[in-house]
Symmetry: D2
Amino acid sequence: MKSKKDFLKDAIKHIDIKQYNVVPLVDAMEHMAFSARSLNRAARIYDMMLKDRECGIILTLAGSIFSAGLKKVVCDLVMNNMVDAIVSTGAIMVDQDFFEALGFKHYIGTPFSDDNLLRDLHIDRIYDTYIDEDELRICDETCAKIADSLEPRPYSSREFIWEMGKYLEDHDGPKVDDSVIFACYKKNIPIFVPAFSDCSAGFGFIMHQTQNPTRHVSIDSAKDFLELTRIKLKSKETGIFMIGGGVPKNFTQDIVVAADILEEDSPMHKYAIQVTVADERDGALSGSTLKEASSWGKVETTYEQMVYGEATVVLPLIAGYAYHKGSWKERKPKEFQRIFSIEGAVA
Amino acid sequence: MKSKKDFLKDAIKHIDIKQYNVVPLVDAMEHMAFSARSLNRAARIYDMMLKDRECGIILTLAGSIFSAGLKKVVCDLVMNNMVDAIVSTGAIMVDQDFFEALGFKHYIGTPFSDDNLLRDLHIDRIYDTYIDEDELRICDETCAKIADSLEPRPYSSREFIWEMGKYLEDHDGPKVDDSVIFACYKKNIPIFVPAFSDCSAGFGFIMHQTQNPTRHVSIDSAKDFLELTRIKLKSKETGIFMIGGGVPKNFTQDIVVAADILEEDSPMHKYAIQVTVADERDGALSGSTLKEASSWGKVETTYEQMVYGEATVVLPLIAGYAYHKGSWKERKPKEFQRIFSIEGAVA
Amino acid sequence: MKSKKDFLKDAIKHIDIKQYNVVPLVDAMEHMAFSARSLNRAARIYDMMLKDRECGIILTLAGSIFSAGLKKVVCDLVMNNMVDAIVSTGAIMVDQDFFEALGFKHYIGTPFSDDNLLRDLHIDRIYDTYIDEDELRICDETCAKIADSLEPRPYSSREFIWEMGKYLEDHDGPKVDDSVIFACYKKNIPIFVPAFSDCSAGFGFIMHQTQNPTRHVSIDSAKDFLELTRIKLKSKETGIFMIGGGVPKNFTQDIVVAADILEEDSPMHKYAIQVTVADERDGALSGSTLKEASSWGKVETTYEQMVYGEATVVLPLIAGYAYHKGSWKERKPKEFQRIFSIEGAVA
Amino acid sequence: MKSKKDFLKDAIKHIDIKQYNVVPLVDAMEHMAFSARSLNRAARIYDMMLKDRECGIILTLAGSIFSAGLKKVVCDLVMNNMVDAIVSTGAIMVDQDFFEALGFKHYIGTPFSDDNLLRDLHIDRIYDTYIDEDELRICDETCAKIADSLEPRPYSSREFIWEMGKYLEDHDGPKVDDSVIFACYKKNIPIFVPAFSDCSAGFGFIMHQTQNPTRHVSIDSAKDFLELTRIKLKSKETGIFMIGGGVPKNFTQDIVVAADILEEDSPMHKYAIQVTVADERDGALSGSTLKEASSWGKVETTYEQMVYGEATVVLPLIAGYAYHKGSWKERKPKEFQRIFSIEGAVA
């Protein structure tokens, strides 16, 4: 009988785009066709965003990409002022980033697993990756502990994630080299998780609310929307860099309309790129084209590019291109987190 | 120059599964291969859920399926005690169902549109469907009005959607024959939208919160999770019928783990079917197999079936099969909404 | 240890579209969106082809669809004058249709198989379907026998498949109710397999040529192209009904250009529908749109429709719709096979 | 009114993998998940093939990849003894490789084209790439001319393609730096196109056969199959590197069975990798897994890897990895073309 240790041996290692100068390779793709050419154009549009002084850059993340080795890529974007706000699924930020910051790891597995055996061993599978379920429970509980420590009131996910960064700081920092939550905490970059209960944090919240039935922390997703809209209102121009679709994509596109509704005239997202394998023909949002988004008044069509590809291969090329082009060196941090501190949204 | 009227001419009509006895057709698919056979098995598993007196049935909805003509299918499931709780994206429930309940329509369009022209005309496009943007703004505002009318405190999406049903009742009922929100209101079927700000309601909420900066309604997604978990705890057995993936899929699978965390021993979902075109190879949740979910302890593998297909074609066949088999006739409504009334969660 | 019999128990049964009047169901799809609406339009375009007296209808087949239970659908189209020529992969016509005509069957299996065990048991797997490898060898050998019996010269695939039909007639007819090869033989409907060696017949050919190194049958794919082009030249208007893509799609689209090259002015395909799940973004032919084909002068854009869906579910609906609409009742068989008999191409 | 020149301005440039040492990048992917990890494993399996002295390497090509800028990649594999035989679609070898060898080019276009206008201008579109239809006609005619010059008899595609290489040599060589047909001609590497009429050459063949109705060149696809099977019989071990699926994939997998049928005991393909975006769930061959192939006795499961990705991005990484690892430096050319010269198959 195999034990848990037999399965949890080889840890996922995060790719370091700083090590690989892919600029010449990606430049060559400009003159090809299909995904190569669209990847090249997306990389150049991202570089345009970085050169545009007026442009606030919002990164949206969906899909299980940090467990897949892409955490350090995003960390490097954060540390080098290549992104000004992040909108993410809960799984990426809590189950994966915060989880690793607590000292736990993801492991190399295989899709050809006996899932009933894995369940018996308390191993969770994400396609070809394994997680220790017992470690994940500790992550849940840590979220509950953070909630317990806070003044009972409605919080935006951004506020709570800031508290998670603070928790890490107060506990000798992350147990790993790279944590996006911690890096954003230090760099004043807000992180939003619009469906915040739909992850490990959610388990923490229900522990917290069950134990504190009348006075407790609640997670106000409306506040999230309002706060992200405020960022749009503060930033003259915006560009969005979307990995996958889902709620983060929709939410971030919607702030243009929200800004308009708040009666402060706001331009569409000037730049927009998306990496996805989703098809547009089923009508779902994840695969809907950026041209379609322009009918909604969300995205300008001049600098938009969809890239048909899976993120683990495509993101290191796009992000690596932009990193090695170096346009970020001239770029000042926007520190959008300060919008809320000044306004008193963070205590 | 074309006007808005030239584009918004032919309204989407919702298919009525009660009119088409597809049982013999779907039965024939049992002996075929590929999607036909998996569709047949999914339909039979759904029928098993309906026959299982102990089984609470949770329907999850993602993708733009009500604007595509599938609203009446879900309405018929609701009216005939074929579903006990719904977990949905906001777009389906608010931008599509509530929107139509206010008297507005979706229109037949084409993916080969000039999206810049559509934007100028205030027409929003969903692949091959058009919406009047100005009517959508009225939907946003109605949500704001409802929020304005409520006592300021954190609400679960379930509570707020119940208020939307009440709003319809107080305003002479829906302006169309079928409204899922209204039908569920009448039938005591809870509806959850875990990412509730990510839709037309979100626009209403930010209007409301902007105008009421200190005392206002907030949307507590943690409460959603807790409430849906309570349904799992009350229902001995559960079956999930998933259209598309996204947050509704993940959220509903997670309640098994949540129930376990609340230390009340709770079985996995006994039945699980999903209709999707998403691929599993990018590791994203929407296409992840139900066998993978079983490694997480969420879904039993005995009665699970993925169907590879697009919902507008597949759902009428699966739902129509179960409707015409008639097992629902013996089924009692579970009225899970009452869990919360009794506990005082609804004022 | 399991034996072959444990796996080869439940035979695939072919769906009989004549039993299910899907016209009202498919009519309802006209007013929906996404695949349902495109399915409806494709069905109506097929019905238009059947009503157009001048229109020769070419059916192209790819994907493993006969082993999946769609053989009888095509047989019914053949027997009811709903198709005038077929262009297919070799697997469908030889490994599947001729194979079953020899008395063998396909069996229900599962994608979650131990493929090494299957190999040891001489069981071949197609996703969720099993085949007895030893029976397939008999099919190979029968093709070799037919080749041995013919005058040594180059043959088009159409000629050889006609000989396969004759072989069945000379051996007391097919051992099953339905055989497309036999039905087409009786109805003078030509069948083309442009990559004819790429199937069970290919194994037969190499046995034949190895045993007859100097004087033997050869398979002239250029002759195929010339013959199919002649059909285009004889038929004033043409419509193509494509299931999947691959060589059959490309080959059949190309005959418009071929007809043009032979300097006889020939119109484009007037009608064109395709059922496919292939994506267009990788630039491969199978997923390339019919609008793209119109840039090549192959397909008119007025009556073209792609349907995004898997054939086992979609084909019974489209073919069933056209069957029950009954426009074929007024339609005369075109018997394109006679073009070649008169010209002496068949001995 | 736009003219042809307005569209045919920017030529596709083929990527040169020799310029980009992607080894460190691809090595980093070993420790990630999803496509990155499978890409890494495929690259390492390809390197294993190159190190295995007994292993003959067969490259299969499908999809419109040479028009997309991948021609030089394949040329470099040929010139550096990294491939021993090629099995391809006709479009890649004739419409794209031979076409460019005649001095013509592919041009950068867009999928958002007015295809009716393109048709009027004699511009053919492949997703986001343009071709001059009039130049393609010259390519057709050149194939006809070559056929006219040959002794009338059945030819394998391999033989005819060798004649195309000779034609280039006799006409001062290719008009471009790289031609796979010419490189293979010089290096004695056989190229097979099992559906040879399904491309520009097919147009040439029908011109030739129409003008020479009784004595003419024919294309014997059975001979193709026999010849490729002979290569399998001569080569102790084989590895297959598949780009896309289609007939080239199926044909090349089938030679294992063919070798077995010719009663000479032949091992399965020892190594097999495939790059594809095709789904397995529709049962079509292009997306069928290599594990499924092992049930047919075609592929060993020890060293097989599917990579889910689009070729323009993935192939430069896999081929570039193997090139820069340099294992090919120790590798001797197998010159399988000589099998047929010695046996007199080529006049």
